[in-house]
């Protein structure tokens, strides 16, 4: 993974000192709260319902075991003993004290981490495919380019006061595991007809109250032109994005208003003037960064490991976990292991300090010290030998991290909702907990198969409800929490936005409603190979509507 050189290390130290100075000036009254607010936000510090929240950047989701131990230490010493992984591959602490924040940042800097640009109207921490470097289907390791973008976007002098936040995501295969087209800029690394690598730009996607699937605005930008094309795109946005209405300030609104073609014309016009300037990316720098992402020292391993195959046959729980939580690695004999942070009844994405320490130990023992965070709020140990899987699984079980539910109905994305967030209409976490308890039987979950359920506590859509196979949105009905259900969304390569099922459900009805949706699917599907989303696309929303509201009526009259 990338390691800081003297320049990166000096930079983060200077940034930490700068922020400490900003806090001191705020406390001394030299900065007004209005002036301090954007400064603290650009350093990941929010004021939530009950306390400050600090969001720490994990660039493109990659963590070392040493960094994970530091995160555990911070959770113990400065928070309530846990942290929360977010949908942007970051981690947040919900209870730090303002005057502790400079000390926390100093601890983070020791392990090459920071909280820069995890919030605020600037280019946010860049995200990437969590299978980067280990997926057989990628044309390039997207982390190399994510690191290039991380450096370019860090304290960018021109783009630190944008109309609104700006999120960039990178993938390098046809499979989209990172919801690439829901970003302000989604980049897919592709090869052109000549075999050269470059970037397809999908600009102007987003969620929130106006969900838009990012249109392809440029099908090939050469590697050396990546930064100039990004600069040109951001410049057009910085000058012309709306600043009069925060709900219309994202780049997606500008792209829609101008039309993708006119938008691209304006970007190209700017780009042609700057593409041969200082922004041209030197080959030597790419090569320098690439070296950090050289594969670890893999062993030559047999594809067939008898002890592993035997364990799968003799232990159905283990076999179920292997099927749900591990994926093919590009190197024979290794598997990619997903650690679900969604045990039954838990808050999605939460992890205790002890669990963090154990994950760090497992990474050291079994996975070259590497860990990844995913945008679905889970963790990954990227390279585990097949022969080690059983032993590792047992250790995960010991700390309740062996839930076999990756991509199943229990693998819920949920935003913090009304438990923490001052913008929320409704609670998200307790809804997720109830649903996960309802589907607590792992056998049942496996039988239902791939089903992505996403929950947001308000229209800002931090829980990605528009692109969940089942989406749940918290709404306020005369001061009461209600939940609107959408079906048919997807954030993968078959991206689509969900459609509203019908009238919203109360807090007490929502779990039943979800179960009725799932039961309807099980009735309708042609067989276990037809995923929920495929059935929905085949039948449309009507049969779901009929069944769900029908069964609800029955339950209501039975209750009376």
């Amino acid at each position: 993974m990338y390691r800081y050189d003297q320049f990166d290390a000096t930079f983060v130290r200077e940034r930490t000192a700068q922020f400490s100075g900003q806090v001191a000036r705020r406390l001394a009254g030299e900065l007004t709260e209005e002036e301090f607010r954007p400064l603290r936000l650009k350093n990941g510090l929010y004021l939530q319902l009950h306390a400050y929240m600090l969001r720490v950047a994990i660039p493109y989701g990659e963590l070392s075991s040493q960094q994970m131990r530091k995160l555990a230490y911070i959770a113990r010493r400065y928070d309530k003993g846990y942290g929360h992984f977010t949908t942007r591959q970051n981690i947040q602490y919900n209870w730090p004290r303002l005057d502790d924040v400079p000390a926390i940042l100093a601890h983070l800097a020791e392990v090459e981490m920071h909280a820069i640009q995890t919030s605020g109207n600037c280019i946010r921490n860049v995200t990437a495919d969590h299978f980067a470097g280990i997926a057989a289907d990628e044309v390039e390791d997207p982390r190399i380019w994510a690191e290039v973008i991380r450096q370019w976007s860090t304290l960018h002098p021109e783009f630190s006061y944008l109309p609104r936040k700006f999120k960039i995501c990178l993938i390098a295969s046809e499979h989209d595991r990172a919801a690439m087209r829901t970003h302000d800029i989604g980049l897919r690394i592709v090869r052109n007809a000549k075999g050269e690598l470059g970037f397809a730009f999908y600009t102007g996607g987003g969620q929130g109250r106006t969900p838009i699937i990012g249109p392809l605005v440029k099908d090939f930008v050469a590697q050396e032109d990546l930064l100039s094309y990004l600069d040109a795109t951001l410049r057009v946005y910085n000058m012309h994005g709306r600043r009069d209405n925060i709900y219309k300030a994202r780049i997606k609104i500008l792209v829609q208003a101008l039309g993708a073609e006119e938008f691209t014309r304006q970007v190209d016009e700017e780009w042609l003037r700057i593409k041969d300037s200082v922004l041209k990316l030197p080959e030597a720098e790419v090569a320098r960064i690439r070296r950090y992402f050289a594969p670890p020292d893999y062993e030559k391993l047999p594809v067939y490991v008898e002890s592993f195959e035997d364990k799968k046959l003799s232990d159905p729980d283990f076999a179920r976990w292997i099927r749900a939580n591990t994926h093919d690695h590009k190197v024979d004999g290794y598997r990619i292991v997903s650690i679900s942070l969604k045990p039954v009844g838990a808050a999605p994405g939460d992890i205790t300090a002890d669990q963090m320490d154990l994950v760090a130990d497992l990474a050291d023992t079994y996975s070259f010290g590497e860990i990844r965070a995913t945008h679905r709020q889970n963790l990954i140990l990227p390279h585990v030998r097949q022969q080690d899987l059983f032993e590792m699984w047992q250790k995960l079980q010991g700390v309740k991290l062996a839930e076999p539910n990756i991509d199943f109905v229990g693998d819920i994305i949920a935003c913090p909702g009304l438990d923490y967030c001052n913008l929320a209409n409704a609670r998200s976490i307790p809804v997720a907990q109830r649903i996960s308890r309802r589907f607590s039987d792992p056998k049942r979950q496996a039988e239902i198969g791939e089903l992505r359920l996403n929950i947001s506590g308000c229209i800002n859509a931090c829980g990605h409800h528009h692109v969940g196979h089942i989406g749940i949105l918290g709404v306020d009905k005369k001061g009461e929490e209600f939940y609107q259900v959408t079906l048919g969304g997807s954030s993968a390569e078959d991206i689509s936005l969900g459609k509203i099922l019908g009238p919203a459900f109360s807090y007490d009805e929502i779990t039943d409603a979800v179960e009725a949706v799932v039961d309807t699917y099980l009735d309708l599907r042609t067989g276990p190979a037809e995923r929920f989303i495929d059935t929905y696309r085949r039948t449309g929303i009507d049969p779901f509507k009929e069944k769900v509201y029908g069964s609800l009526k029955e339950r209501r009259s039975a209750a009376e």
Partner: protein, 168 residues
């Protein structure tokens, strides 16, 4: 009121003249784009140096053809959160090749000062209530810069590869 150049206070030699005010002779005056357009010919006959003030919704492309006559372009930061003028400064320097003075006026805070210099702004008029020493302090906060912007500061990237070239 003083202006800052490289963090150092200097007397402000320029006078901003409102659209309905008469223009002083033999002075350095800053006028609005509108006035520049309507009275441009007459203004050029005055003996002093000329500057134009761009509001935050006025792109420098509006005065692209006149830049060679202007000794100063003032960019407005009506609110410190309105970052359009950062891009205007870049356009003035990189795209239009403007060599005169670029000045930032309005809500220009010390935490933005380095960004301004990096984008090609030369002088700023800090708000009166702000401690001017703070701006000089801000210039010492960073020694590492990632983005090539065309200013003279060496980027991390250049230093990395320079160092290697020397070592080799």
């Amino acid at each position: 009121m003083a202006v800052l150049r490289n963090g150092v206070p200097q007397p402000n030699e320029w006078i901003r003249v409102a659209d309905d005010q008469p223009l002083p002779e033999n002075a350095k005056v800053i006028v609005s784009v509108e006035r520049w357009r309507s009275e441009g010919e007459r203004l050029r006959q005055l003996n002093g140096a000329l500057g134009v003030f761009l509001k935050s919704d006025q792109s420098p492309l509006l005065i692209a053809d006149d830049l060679h006559r202007l000794s100063l372009v003032a960019l407005e930061f009506p609110k410190f959160t309105d970052g359009r003028a950062f891009s205007y400064a870049r356009i003035l320097r990189d795209r239009l090749g403007y060599k005169g003075e670029i000045r930032a006026v309005g809500q220009v805070l010390r935490d933005q000062y380095v960004f301004m210099l990096r984008c090609g702004i030369d002088t700023i008029e800090p708000p009166v209530e702000k401690r001017v020493e703070g701006y000089a302090e801000a210039l010492r906060e960073f020694s590492v810069f990632y983005q090539p912007t065309g200013d003279e500061r060496a980027t991390a990237l250049q230093l990395r590869h320079q160092r290697k070239a020397v070592a080799a």
